[in-house]
Amino acid sequence: MSSRLRLWVLAAGGLGVAVLFVLACFDLPAFGGLRHPYGDRAVHAALARHTANTVSSVNFDQRAFDTLGEESILFGSVVGTVVLLRQTRDEGRLPPEPATVAPPVRRYALIALPVTLLIGLYVIAHGQLSPGGGFQGGVVVATALHLLYIAVDYRALERIRPVGLYEVADAAGEAAYLLVGTAALVTGAAFLTNFLPYGTFNTLSSGGTVPLLNAAIGVEVACGVVVLLARFLDQAVEIESGDRDDEAEAGT
């Protein structure tokens, strides 16, 4: 198909979608409308289970099974990336060059690392109370570790980052989610039922299984993102295709 023809097909399709979409927009409930039947019921259910953050309650309690599916997508794409970006036989490793970092940047990054880590853990731990949770906090924690790459260099990051352990922890997070779900079966309830006591409203221990599942997701997301970034950094900084100009270093 020539590129001109392709553009015409695209224009026709885009126009069709646009017309149908605009027509549909005028039939949707108006923006800012007052009728939200599902929302009202979800809020009611969350309050009945003593979870202050309704969004977390929906994610980890009312629709926990759906989140299991989402989590599996995350797990699957991490595994896929690891497989795709592995070091192949014809590629060699170059030791990463030590980078010179300006002292103020190094100081800032070394201070910011624990602060960011703490904020990430705070976001995970308060998931059932205030905005946040395992998904957001996990990403923040993973980003915090990479401040070491900014502060020192890639070799320093590699030293505190045994990728194998993070891969195991990633799987452990996924397994923990399943185990908490299965524990509900032992008590005679359905899979992923919120079987723990609900606790006092608006305290850290409220929400039954919500904090547990939150933590499991937090571990999985943090470790998954660390593993992902490790693969990308390996590819961009270390791995050279050995069949070209780096034959000499390809010994490892």
């Binding site: 060059e97 300006a102 910011a112 960011t116 904020i119 905005p131 923040v140 980003t143 990479h146 401040l147």
Partner: protein, 163 residues
């Protein structure tokens, strides 16, 4: 619309939008400082909105942005060091960007502190303010350092020099 929300809208229109334009167009030497300025100002907008809606819980995104924004800028500086060294930003414009965030952060955070009154929420606001100031300071320093390191070096060692 409360005064806080109006202030947020004004800051959005007069601060964030021009800074975002600066970060979206032009050479890399302008984009990096402008990107940092955008995150700083957006964090302030979020704080103002939190106050305007009467929801202290809304400050959490600002807190996260205050630490991750500079992290993003430092990543850009690290990975685009060659381009920054090849076309260094003018020291004067860097200084202007830093001065702008130095004035904007207290100008927003201090009135918010007065409005919230002493307590945990105020400590959080002050922490965010300090993080924002430190972040914009270190971003400017990082750009300057990348430029001077690039001049001291003979050739592009690592990074993405445009071939």
């Amino acid at each position: 619309m409360s005064g806080w929300t109006a202030a947020a809208a004004a800051l959005l229109l007069c601060g964030v939008a021009p800074a975002a334009c600066g970060a979206a167009t032009g050479p890399v030497r302008r984009r990096v400082p402008a990107q940092n300025l955008t995150t700083t100002l957006l964090s302030l907008v979020i704080l103002l909105l939190a106050q305007g809606y009467g929801r202290p819980a809304y400050t959490d995104p600002a807190l996260v942005l205050a630490v991750l924004g500079p992290a993003g800028t430092l990543l850009y500086v690290r990975l685009l060091a060659d381009q920054l060294a090849a076309h260094p930003p003018r020291p004067r414009s860097l200084l202007a960007v830093t001065a702008l965030s130095y004035t904007a952060v207290p100008a927003v955070v201090l009135p918010l502190c007065v409005a919230t009154g002493p307590g945990r929420a105020m400590v959080k606001l002050l922490v965010i303010g300090v993080l924002l100031v430190l972040g914009s300071r270190v971003a400017a320093r990082a750009v300057t350092a990348a430029v001077s390191a690039g001049h001291g070096r003979t050739g592009p060692a690592e990074g993405m020099s445009d071939g």
